[in-house]
Symmetry: C2
Subunit: 222 residues, 2 copies
Amino acid sequence: MSANRRISIAVIRRLPRYYRYLGELLENDIKRISSKELSERMGVTASQIRQDLNNFGGFGQQGYGYNVEYLYKEIAKILGLNNKYKVIIVGVGNLGQALANYVKFEQRGFELCGLFDVNPRLIGMTIRGIEVKDIDEMESFVKENKIDVAYLTLPKSKVRKVAEDLASWGVKGLWNFSPVDLDLSSDVVVEDVHLSDSLMTLSYRINRQMQLKEAQTKKSNK
Amino acid sequence: MSANRRISIAVIRRLPRYYRYLGELLENDIKRISSKELSERMGVTASQIRQDLNNFGGFGQQGYGYNVEYLYKEIAKILGLNNKYKVIIVGVGNLGQALANYVKFEQRGFELCGLFDVNPRLIGMTIRGIEVKDIDEMESFVKENKIDVAYLTLPKSKVRKVAEDLASWGVKGLWNFSPVDLDLSSDVVVEDVHLSDSLMTLSYRINRQMQLKEAQTKKSNK
DNA sequence: AAAACTATGTTTAAATTATAACATTTACTT
DNA sequence: AAGTAAATGTTATAATTTAAACATAGTTTT
């Protein structure tokens, strides 16, 4: 297993889910778990769990299974949850404020350091002891405080420019909530949360479900 | 092409993105587009675009390409964006409030009808003219108003029970923001937005990126 | 009006991803 | 202590997904 073999993004996106389930097991004082039992709880195949984990190393023991606490910590390491990231939020509208108040993210190492907006009515306000600053002050703030990550919760018309600026100032990751694809030249990582896309998918699936249901009742009625 | 052949969720999740790009083309008064040009703009293959669309029908014309406005409307139909859904939000904390204020969702057919919480300090408050009600009133409200969809923005400890109730009251879709997997027996559709998972993925990718960068500079320095 | 070109829809091939199978090691039981 | 059962890590197979190839229909140009 070459350390630098690229691991599929699908695998990565399953890790947080494993992590969540292991956390629950821990809370219930369950010390060990087999891939089989975990697979039944999670609704995936045991084979997939074993394969996914073995991308990163052999964390289990034959005949025994996995030690829950150990595996939990190892996944945290893989995901880099022991690292600390200094965060700013750009755009302190409703969503920005909501994210600012989410304490859980801090537990994952994402420490909120700054809030920025253009709206004079928001500037000066404080959330969890942090003052909302004018976006004009952002450049010096980011550079001086070595900000790692920015949550982008500003209108889509402005997000591209802001993203480019942040990237050029050395920010490593962007959590993008705008319905825009940011294709930045530099090696900054962009993680999108396209709420609108998600809602459209929900719409499709509801319709699909209703069609299926209709077809079923029709079938059983003839 | 059988009308009832199940279409992969990966395809479905690409549709909103196509829709977004087509919307932008429309705004720029671009009347027609070929799969090739769209593929270049979007950073996907032309083949994939054609294949994806052909799951639902032949919307293009050989030698010409796709009529932007027509395709835009067809994708809206596929996604069910012409339908109207009556929505309630359960849990009017920061995130719930943020979603309540998002007007864009209304444009997609998701009409906010009710807000519910257990917190007495929130009950009675209004957002966009809608009063926050006690969660005890939810059952009759959902049944009387034939609510289709609920946004779940309440603490994870309570979300399972609420989801089961809503499902039993005939709600068709749940937009779940809690870090919990809702496996409901009924045929209600659950669309998850696991923000915490997304953030962990960002964490992984930032680390990965930094490792790559380090390896690069090391290489070029020897 | 004919020829050259464009670009779809569809078929075929390649690549990727997921599942199953299995050999081996460890744990547990009698 | 020996034998049986359990469960991993890994290899092989199957399924799915993506990309390429291509035949055909339609458009544009001369």
